[in-house]
Amino acid sequence: MSKMSLKLADDVPEKLFTEATKQWQEKYAEIKKMSGNENPYALHREMAEEMISNVLIVRENSKLKATLEKIDEFEERWKNINCVDTTDWSNPVPSFINQLWNMIQLSKIITKGALLRDEFRGSHYKPEFDLNQPSDFRPESYLEYEKQKDAGKVNEEGFNPEHLTYMKRFAENNVKWLKSTIATYQNGGPDISYEAVDTSLIAPRPRKYD
């Protein structure tokens, strides 16, 4: 076994801490100087309303696209914020402004990730990409279907034909979309890529929404 190198805070060069302190002090000093005419809390509220109306459970690509443009506008407007409290004692405003910037970045990630995903799963619903699950479909029958597929031969007669075509649609959709969305910060915005999901412990199956 290789010797574990135990690194303590004391071993880290002091410079790291002083530079980090300096970086944040400068950042907060910059924020405190912000003297535009947007109230950070009002801007936050406006963005929240936009996100709640368009990027909640039911999602439509056209609205996601429009929201993405809206978020870019919020980002521009953020630069015109007024730091409505510049005092030094227990002042929550500068850190709120800093957080709001991060919320804008996170909103972009959520909205872009949702837009690029031409399907839905989990708690979301995109009516445009509904796979039309038959109402009497039972998710366990998909596990049986997958089992037969793995064994090399699906006994197609054994399934309700409507269910069978649905399961094929579901399987096909998973080939493309059973992936985690990865966002990387590139050139001032999120770059979206995908990563396989580990399904070795629980086999994926359709979800029932009723």
């Binding site: 109230n39 809390y41 009002a42 509220r45 409505v84 409290d85 005092t87 004692w89 227990s90 002042n91 929550p92 405003v93």
Partner: protein, 249 residues
């Protein structure tokens, strides 16, 4: 005339500066609560004289009356601001910080003394060590109902704000800590240090400082039976006093 609500807020810029009152008039939004109104003020921090001022500072977290951090004095009554519905309050609405804790700024107070009191009475389950201690003792069914009620304490401070014996200048541990002592002294594992907790409550600032005014139980938003807890701990303390006397012989 537009439908508005007037708030009179007792503000304080820092720990050592003088408090002052400031009035805000905001549009009335049906179903709003005191926190959503404070957020309206944040979004447009202008007092009734039309002056731009710093937004009011307050604390909040859960917004569902379980964390206790938003406690303040609303229309002279101590309560949680997140569950104070504006339509049910008399107008104008007055907001003040609690008076039994040091003000940090505006409506935000420092409740550390309450958490300190919980440390003093060791309000936790004592299961120490990194080795596997096996399953804990079972909580008897007969305890569950009362233990559940006592465990709902959110260290909000209402009971202390209302208590005539609790002040900024003394060291009374207060009803909440006494009630938590009762909870942990009945817990099948935590009771192993019941005596140590009672020792703490026999010292200065302990149970003898309670004057039995019973304001605490009236003020508790979680309806915790604080006077019963005080009586029960009183019994435990007297029991211990007697056994101390006999042991000394």
């Amino acid at each position: 005339m537009p439908d508005t609500i007037t708030f009179k807020i007792k503000r304080q810029d820092s720990e050592n500066t003088k408090p002052y009152w400031e009035t805000f008039v905001i549009p009335h939004v049906p179903n709003s609560n005191v926190i959503s109104c404070l957020m309206d003020i944040q979004a447009n921090p202008e007092n009734s004289k039309g002056e731009k001022v710093a937004p009011v500072v307050w604390d909040c977290n859960c917004l569902e009356e379980v964390c206790g951090s938003c406690t303040m004095v609303i229309n002279r009554k101590v309560r949680q601001s997140c569950s104070a519905l504006v339509d049910q309050l008399e107008k104008p609405i007055t907001l003040e910080p609690m008076s039994k804790f040091p003000v940090i700024r505006d409506l935000a107070v420092d409740r550390s003394r309450m958490f300190g009191a919980l440390k003093k009475v060791q309000a936790w389950v004592t299961a120490d060590g990194y080795h596997d201690l096996g399953p804990g003792n079972r909580e008897p069914q007969s305890h569950q109902e009362i233990a559940y009620k006592l465990s709902e304490c959110m260290t909000c401070g209402c009971c202390l704000e209302a208590c005539p014996q609790y002040s900024l200048n003394n060291n009374f541990l207060g009803a909440a800590a006494i009630s938590q002592t009762r909870l942990f002294n009945m817990h099948p594992t935590a009771k192993n240090i019941a005596d140590e907790r009672l020792d703490t409550l026999m010292q200065e600032g302990g149970i003898a400082d309670c004057g039995n005014a019973q304001n605490c139980v009236e003020a508790c938003p979680k309806s915790i039976p604080l006077t019963e807890s005080i009586a029960e701990i009183g019994r435990q303390v007297s029991g211990k006093l007697w056994s101390n006397i006999f042991q000394a012989k």
